[in-house]
Amino acid sequence: MQALVIVAHGSHLNPDSSTPTYDHADAIRATGAFDEVREAFWKEEPSFREALRTVEAEEVYVVPLFVSEGYFTEQVIPREMRLEDWDVSDWDSEDGVSASSATYRASDVEKTIHYCGPVGTHEVMSDVIVRRAESVTGDPEVGAGFGLAIVGHGTERNENSAKAIHYHTERIREMGRFDEVEAVFMDEEPEVDDVTEFFSARDIVVVPLFIADGFHTQEDIPEDMGLTDDFREGYPVPGEVDGHRIWYAGAVGTESLMADVVLERAAEAGAEIGDARSRIEERSAPSVAGE
């Protein structure tokens, strides 16, 4: 028996925070790759603290639905899950974007825990960002004539958060698919407020590297970019700002292909997933703009 536990932040205030976690968990459940799939949250239930006891399997793959290595993945989750002898160096990620997985016992259950790196720094995440751009434009070939901006929170609490953004920016730039690819941030330079200044392309797809839609992605970023004066009135897709057309995608974490990254993390840690990845890819064919 093997179980997958997807761990995410959750919220005491925003009911939509857990939605992507549930959606990706359900997509993986539907593949049948795991005997059990369970969600766990810092702010909702089951808590990180009690998640492992809610599964019966002895082999458990824990995949953090977080965008970067840092405070939550390195301190909070291992501590709350009681991973014995956790040491961040076990992840062998000196550059802050290379965490793979490491195996532990947890002190409150008789189980083997494979603790995986966060989804946000996995290389497949670059494909999810591109897929998000396809979804928001409704164009599976989107790229030529378009700029792509990847938005990060910034360094406020964790320098690795910017590293993840730069990592995917560089990878997607190397794909040569978009005319320009740039990293922008909410609370450091270059700022998302000035996004149009960084592109010469008329069309710019803006994809925030966030797991869930909430205050930052639905209120701050659209207002900061000048897409809307009042988030309550929504924003147009695409929207005109300073002579550019902004295709604002909302949190990348809501993209259905994210489930593929979760699976890939677990598979790299040793989970038997059969053809589950191809089944996720079939399910998550690009959707159309405005959905």
Partner: protein, 360 residues
């Protein structure tokens, strides 16, 4: 009972069987078959099958617990046994009760177990307030995964960050669940309650008291260990009693220092301060940093009581239930507005500045 169950019993007889009064001893000289009512030994296989067919309840009961639920050990098994009172009633008593429906309550959930085909159990799961409501008047559910959506909002459409708050919405039913699906649905509505209840029954509940939880915190929550025991008691009274959360509080300040706040009455335990309590504790610590002061207010005795009534109404969550024109209720909106118009001022209540030193 059906043929497959008898077949499974014949197969299991080699190893010997002992479940809920059914004994199938195996000594190599033939089959035995015992229930509280009958006792056979030295049976041929054909005679054994006949004996089994004459005690269908015992056979299908054995089959359900060993082959469908999967045998003892798991929290799921223990919970499903508890649902039908399997440890307190023998098989004939249970089968008679199950044919009418055996009811259990789990927080605000009402679970009714009945007999399906060939001794399989079927379970009806709904809000206890919907007990007796015809199924077609409720929103029907099949998939346990949907229970997460049921748990998200209360009857007024407000988000429920705490799954065991006594605000589970009404109006829904899972009319026909199998055992595993029942446990799954219950675990989506009240996460980890079944497992923690099971640990407690075995005397293995791992309680983490407040001090230990507080000391473990980092980041913005590292200050919560500054909460005094008096403040912690008030916090538990505010957040953890049954009117706020149905889990039965088993943690205290530490192992030696019990809190005075009532623990609660429900079946399932709370083994550690939750994230909501930790978040609240952080706020309470910052509130506790202020010193008290003396203020002088001019209020009539009734107005003083009205202020207290307003605090009570908010604390008990009864504001929404106060009738629009009930001017005898101090927390009525017109009464509160009148108090504010009459006694409020630029500097707030009774026009007394919060920081008099800032106002000469």
């Amino acid at each position: 009972m059906n043929d497959a169950q008898v077949e499974a019993l014949v197969e299991a007889a080699e190893e010997g069987v002992e479940t809920d009064g059914l004994r199938v001893p195996h000594d190599g000289t033939g089959y035995g078959f015992e229930t509280p009512e009958v006792s056979h030994e030295g049976l041929s296989e054909a005679e054994f099958r006949t004996a089994a067919e004459e005690s269908p309840w015992f056979v299908s009961n054995w089959h359900y617990w060993t082959h469908v639920v999967g045998g003892p050990g798991s929290a799921r098994y223990a919970f499903l046994r508890w649902v039908e009172g399997a440890d307190d009633h023998d098989v004939p008593e249970r089968y008679e009760a199950l044919s009418a429906g055996t009811d259990r309550e789990w927080g605000q959930l009402s679970i009714t177990a009945t007999l399906g085909e060939d001794g399989l159990r079927r379970y009806d799961l709904r809000h206890e307030a919907d007990t007796g409501v015809p199924e077609d008047e409720l929103e029907g559910y099949v998939d346990p995964l949907d229970a997460r959506r049921i748990a998200t909002y209360d009857d007024e459409g407000r988000y429920r960050p705490l799954s065991t708050a006594p605000t589970l919405r009404t109006g829904w039913v899972y009319p026909d669940l199998e055992g595993a699906a029942l446990v799954e649905a219950v675990e989506f509505l009240y996460p980890a309650t079944v497992e923690n209840w099971h640990r407690e029954r075995r005397g293995e509940l791992d309680i983490t008291h407040f001090r230990e939880t507080a000391e473990r915190q980092t980041g913005i929550y590292s200050i919560v260990d500054q909460l005094t025991v008096e403040e912690l008691d008030a916090a538990a009274e505010a957040c953890c009693v049954d009117s706020q959360c149905l889990k039965r509080r088993m943690w205290d300040e530490d192992e030696e220092t019990p809190l005075d706040a009532p623990r609660g009455e429900e079946a399932f335990p709370c083994r550690e301060p939750c994230s909501l309590l930790v978040t609240a504790a952080r706020k309470f610590v910052t509130l506790g940093r202020e010193e008290t002061r003396s203020y002088e207010f001019e209020l009539t005795p009734t107005e003083k009581e009205q202020v207290e009534e307003i605090i009570d109404a908010v604390a008990e969550g009864r504001v929404g239930a106060i009738r629009e024109a009930d001017l005898n209720d101090g927390a009525n909106r017109y009464r509160a507005r009148y108090l504010r118009a009459l006694r409020g001022g630029e500097h707030g209540l009774s026009n007394t500045p919060t920081y008099p030193e800032d106002h000469g």
